[in-house]
Symmetry: C2
Subunit: 194 residues, 2 copies
């Protein structure tokens, strides 16, 4: 599903297997709300020793980042597809909601997101940029179509959505997230013909 992009020679077969197992185990742990999943547990449930975990990932954080990066990759493919299928306004609306749904895969994930937010790692920086670009794409289409106010940038909107990450531990958080999204959506349209 993924070809090597780096100049290094490909991983040995068993190494590749282990790396994948670790990512799967980490995702599993984070998604199931096991917030305090320790490296030892993740390694064990992946069927390897901690040393192997550290062969593949610089730190515990790096592993979390990688899990998150994969999520972001999937999400960032959406805007282009949505713009082909829907009007700019509708595409924007749907993407914002998609973001909410995606954040809903498990409260453990939002912990991971926060954990990453708290670091200034280059990996996360890339993910953030990617996401911001996706939003910019949608905003630009909206501005061109005259349904979105000018002057709001992708990175800004991304941050505005950041609050959704801190939302576990409440009962009706998903509805609330949708409300916030609607609020931002309307804020974006404020002052247009919409």
């Amino acid at each position: 599903m993924e070809v090597s992009l780096s100049s290094a020679r490909p991983l040995r077969a068993d190494a590749r297997r282990n790396r994948e197992a670790l990512l799967a185990a980490a995702r599993e742990a984070f998604l199931s709300g096991d917030t305090d999943s320790h490296v030892e547990e993740i390694a064990r449930s992946a069927g390897v020793a901690v040393g192997t975990l550290y062969r593949h990932f610089e730190t515990r954080e790096a592993l979390i980042e990688e899990v998150y990066r994969q999520e972001v990759d999937e999400l960032c493919a959406a805007p282009a597809a949505l713009l082909e299928r829907y009007s700019p306004e509708e595409a924007l609306r749907r993407f914002l909601l998609l973001l909410v749904e995606h954040a809903a895969v498990g409260k453990g994930m939002s912990v991971a997101l926060e954990s990453i937010m708290a670091t200034a790692s280059p990996v996360f920086e890339a993910a953030r940029t990617q996401m911001a670009d996706a939003l910019t794409q949608l905003l630009d289409a909206g501005v061109t179509a005259g349904v979105v106010r000018d002057g709001v940038t992708g990175p800004t909107l991304l941050r505005a959505l950041g609050g959704i990450c801190g939302m576990r531990a409440t009962e009706g958080w998903q509805d609330e997230a949708r409300q916030i999204t609607a609020l931002l959506f309307d804020g974006l349209r404020y002052g247009t013909a919409g």
Copy 2:
């Protein structure tokens, strides 16, 4: 400045001094971006031993919480004052901006906020409720005056503003925060006579 509200007898003079010194040292450390300020450092710069720190605060987190709670207390006094001086619309606008300025006291503070967000401690719960109530007060005044849409609650708006917490580590974050605030403000007015 503060009288004992609990049934326990007042602290001994030296204990009170130490407690205050610890809070001051902690605030200092957090505000100056010393993100990884260790309990040992905080205790030393307050002129006490770690044991003393733990006599006054259950855990490191509890100390952070207390610093934050004080900030929140100050902030929550604002809405009532603003509503006396300005129109509901203007009061809301000013309070949202005040929130941003307040978050600006130092990037270290946002780390503290996040740290608190990541726990479901009762202390933070109280602070959050307090803040949400302040926002509700402003929103209600706005709805009554017909300048704010109905159906948005204080807790919801609070979360929407949450994204601002994750904003250190960027150059022009303060301008961005202001933009987001404006966005939400307009979202709130969407569909009214405003």
